[in-house]
């Protein structure tokens, strides 16, 4: 966790110094990010939604959201957007206190979230810089077809790469991309191994609250770097050691030694009350064994790996396959698989109040997963970074009720003579 924090902090320092070092800065998003490509051009990626969630964790987001609302953004707009816009209006000082560099390019490499497009429209108005847009078709029928792949690869060649060349003044060097992809795939192997240790009972990791820290480098500016490769090798070694010792996950209050509930979680965590939210789980000895949020920047545990032999094709496949680009039936199937494969006692949907594109259909998903697995789910509502939408007593009441319900069901099952 510490190393991960240090990596993120170092990245913010680099961003702060980018201008002096003559490095170009590319604003882009986590889902479908083209990190290896950007690194091959020596450009530094900056993720507005990561800034927003960092601001949320550091209790700054409330003020930023309010600032954006004063500027005319409605209460119903995505709070990541409002947090980012508010931060911009207040001088674009990043979550760690350093002023963030302006973008040289806005690279929209994922379009499954409609809000992303609107978000970058706002940023373009403000910065008046070039925009590269990669249109990524939604997997409406549950698969990425060869046509879709070809379509995305073509855009990479004709839209994204030429714009990166123009902005950075460098030629596209496919060998550099391949080198990075080799490292990506190795780190991805390690990450998957870490996530899958949760199949063990007790799980040595929490795959949601703890998982957020595990995916950090992979999902942001580090995929394909030597640092990331080293980080994941070390993480894997640590977690495997915990597994061998039969230890449970680490929480902010120490080791969780007695696993009572194994859960699968759908939806991002709430960032403004992250610790408080986590505590509601570990106080009840509930461990999240699998989550979909840890797949928004790549669904590696279902087989996908970046492939140096097919650099652009594998980047296109990656964009098409990230969790947010999957259809409702695919998401249902994936969560149902998690419930079974990770022997979960239950699953929870944390629906995000201000996220229209991702929260839609979650109640239907709940019912379908229940039908598929025979495991009962629970549903709560919070928000990403708007502190006003986290009602602690309400969430706690629901979670407690749910845990007691699971316990009661378990007791009833145990009473049945075999």
């Amino acid at each position: 966790m510490l190393q991960q924090k240090e990596m993120i902090a170092a990245h913010f320092r680099k961003l702060g110094e980018a201008r002096e070092r003559g490095q170009k800065v590319v604003y882009t998003f986590v889902p479908g990010n083209l990190t290896e490509l950007m690194l091959a051009f020596d450009a530094l990626p900056l993720h507005p939604e990561i800034n927003a969630l960092q601001s949320g964790m550091r209790k700054l987001s409330g003020e930023y959201v309010a600032e954006a609302e004063r500027a005319g953004h409605s209460e119903d707009v995505c709070t990541y957007v409002k947090c980012d816009v508010g931060m911009l209006l207040k001088g674009n000082v990043g979550p760690d206190g350093t002023k963030l560099p302006e973008p040289d390019l806005l690279l929209l490499s994922y379009t499954g979230c409609f809000t992303f497009m609107k978000w970058f429209e706002l940023l373009r108005q403000h910065y008046d810089c070039p925009v590269a847009m990669l249109h990524v078709p939604y997997q409406a029928d549950g698969e990425a077809t060869p046509d879709m792949l070809e379509y995305v690869v073509k855009q990479l060649r004709t839209e994204v790469i030429p714009k990166l060349e123009r902005v950075t003044g460098r030629k596209y060097d496919e060998d550099r991309v391949r080198e990075a992809l080799v490292r990506s795939a190795r780190a991805e192997d390690d990450l998957v191994r870490v996530l899958e240790t949760a199949k063990h009972r007790p799980s040595p990791i929490d795959a949601y609250f703890g998982g957020v820290y595990y995916i950090g480098p992979m999902f942001t500016a580090f995929r394909g770097t030597e640092e990331a490769e080293a980080y994941y090798a070390q993480l894997r070694a640590e977690v495997e050691e915990r597994l061998a010792r039969g230890q449970g996950p680490i929480t902010p209050e120490g080791l969780l030694d007695e696993e009572r509930f194994r859960l699968v979680v759908e939806g991002p965590p709430n960032w403004t009350h992250f610790r408080e939210f986590w505590k509601m789980f570990y106080d009840e000895r509930a461990v999240v064994v699998a989550s979909t949020y840890t797949k928004v920047g790549g669904v590696y545990d279902r087989g996908f790996r970046h492939d140096p032999a097919r650099p652009l094709e594998s980047l296109a496949e990656y964009c098409l396959g990230c969790y947010t680009n999957l259809s409702l039936p695919t998401r249902v199937e994936m969560i149902a698989d998690y419930v079974r494969d990770y022997a979960a006692d239950g699953f929870l949907i944390n629906s995000i109040k201000s996220c229209n594109s991702f929260s839609a259909g979650q109640l239907v998903m709940l019912r379908e997963i229940e039908d598929l697995t025979g495991v009962k789910g629970s549903f709560i509502e919070t928000d990403l970074v708007d502190p006003r939408y986290f009602s602690a007593s309400n969430v706690k009441t629901r979670l407690e009720s749910y845990f007691q319900m699971l316990e009661q069901k378990r007791a009833a099952r145990e009473e049945v003579p075999v």
Partner: protein, 449 residues
């Protein structure tokens, strides 16, 4: 006698249910939650034990053929008189506190006189709530005392040319202190006084009176020991119980509804600030639930606010709404806006009955949305919580269920407000059963005082 207690600390009222070892309900008690959950908990529990003694007395009376005929109902009259005695005791305490507070604030002699006059008249008037044929209304001390103090205070202040606000300030300062203390009344003494008041209402021979007195003494002296107490509801975290004895209100309502109506599969509970839609299996185990969040429009407090806006009592809302000839559309997404809308409708000349009719439908529309999110309405459907006492709400719900789901058996119990406490009491009894009984009884008694 070994008892198991369930306590439901709601946002508006606190309820207690006492079970005997066989699981039969011995007694129920309710009080307003006030700002002090500890006191509310204790008072509701005391009420429930009083109710238990009264019910035991009733059973004893029924067991004696020579008393049954002539003393029928006497235990209940006795209870009303007991409650009246408690009420008078509190009223005296309130007067004393008001006097001390007024003096401390340096109130003028005419204010002190006005205060005395108000309290002189209050006892007679507020005690009417405890008459045998009293109109059903809240008999919580705070509600009775403040309604009457407001009314008398205004009259007396006008006549004596004293500022009403000054009287009001004295009351506000004093009521919380009085309400936050548990009245120290002796059961034995108060029961004797209550019996003295009650006996003249019944035509009983000297022998019968003696026999009855013997039964009352026995009911008072009976040892009722609490084996386990389980708490639920919003204030549950405040309860001085072990975590093991605190259950979620969702589970308690599910189980309580199952106990009242064993065929229950779907439960709707509307309380002060919560609406819960719960699905249960054949054993009363919760399988799915949905709760309102972020907003409590459409709950009990919403109705309370509307009643205040219309200047009528909460208990009058339902009966008035049932007189509706048509239903005016009222929004249910915001309590405060609904109030404004209501005034607007009244100004447009629409009938109060029709507006309230629409309002009851509006709150049930909200409940229907929650029900559908929890998995729909299955037979049988049980409606619980304070709002289930409102006949117009029950009617509006019935119509919507029919429109959306077709025919369903809808259960409403007169004791629906106690459903959560009942579920908690059943959990208490379960916790007390088996090998761990003794150990649990010890920890529970230690934890719950």
């Amino acid at each position: 006698m070994k008892c198991f207690v369930g306590i439901d600390l709601g946002s508006t009222t606190t309820k207690a249910v006492v079970l005997d070892a066989s699981g039969a309900v011995l007694g129920r008690g309710i009080t307003n939650s006030r700002s002090n959950y500890d006191v509310a908990c204790e008072i509701a529990r005391n009420e429930a034990f009083l109710d238990a003694r009264v019910n035991l007395l009733q059973r004893a009376v029924e067991d004696k053929p020579e008393l049954t005929e002539k003393a029928r109902g006497l235990p209940y009259v006795l209870r009303r008189n007991f409650q009246r005695a408690q009420h008078v005791h509190l009223l005296r305490e309130l007067e004393e506190t008001c006097t001390v507070n007024a003096r401390r604030a340096g109130a003028a002699p005419d204010v002190m006189d006005a205060l005395r006059e108000v309290f002189d008249q209050m006892e007679n008037r507020t005690c009417k709530a405890f008459d045998q044929n009293a109109r059903p209304r809240s008999d919580f001390f705070r509600d009775l005392a403040s309604a009457e103090y407001m009314r008398l205070g205004q009259i007396v202040a006008r006549r004596r040319r004293v500022e009403f606000e000054v009287l009001l300030g004295i009351f506000d300062k004093s009521i919380i202190a009085v309400e936050s203390s548990v009245p120290e009344t002796s059961l034995q003494e108060t029961m004797e006084k209550a019996l003295e008041h009650s006996l003249p209402l019944f035509d009983l021979s000297a022998d019968a009176q003696r026999a009855l007195k013997g039964l009352v003494d026995a009911a008072v002296a009976r040892r009722l020991t609490t084996a386990v107490t389980v708490g639920t509801g919003y204030g549950r975290a405040r309860l001085p119980f072990l975590k093991e004895f605190i259950r979620s209100e969702i589970l308690c309502h599910g189980l309580g509804a199952h106990a009242l109506f064993p065929g229950t599969r779907t439960v709707l509970d509307i309380g002060g600030q919560d609406t819960k839609a719960i699905q249960v299996d054949a054993d009363g185990v919760v399988t799915s639930f949905q709760m309102n969040d972020r907003c409590a429009a459409g709950c009990g407090r919403y109705l309370g606010y509307i009643a205040d806006e219309m200047n009528i009592g909460l208990h009058e809302l339902g009966p008035i709404a049932q007189e509706a000839r048509k239903r005016v559309r009222i929004n249910s997404t915001c309590t405060v806006f609904a109030g404004a809308e209501l005034r607007d409708r009244l100004a447009l000349g629409q009938r109060r009955e029709d507006i309230l009719g629409g309002l009851h439908r509006a709150i049930m529309l909200r409940a229907m949305s929650l029900l559908s999110r929890s998995g729909g309405i299955h037979d049988e459907f049980t409606f619980t919580g304070g709002v289930a006492k409102n006949a117009a709400a029950v009617m509006a719900l019935g119509e919507l269920v029919e429109e959306n789901y077709g025919e369903r058996k809808i259960n409403v119990s007169p004791d629906s407000i106690y459903t959560g406490a009942l579920g908690a009491a059943i959990y208490a009894r379960r916790a007390g059963a088996g090998d761990r009984e003794e150990q649990l009884a010890v920890t529970a008694a230690g934890g719950a005082r």
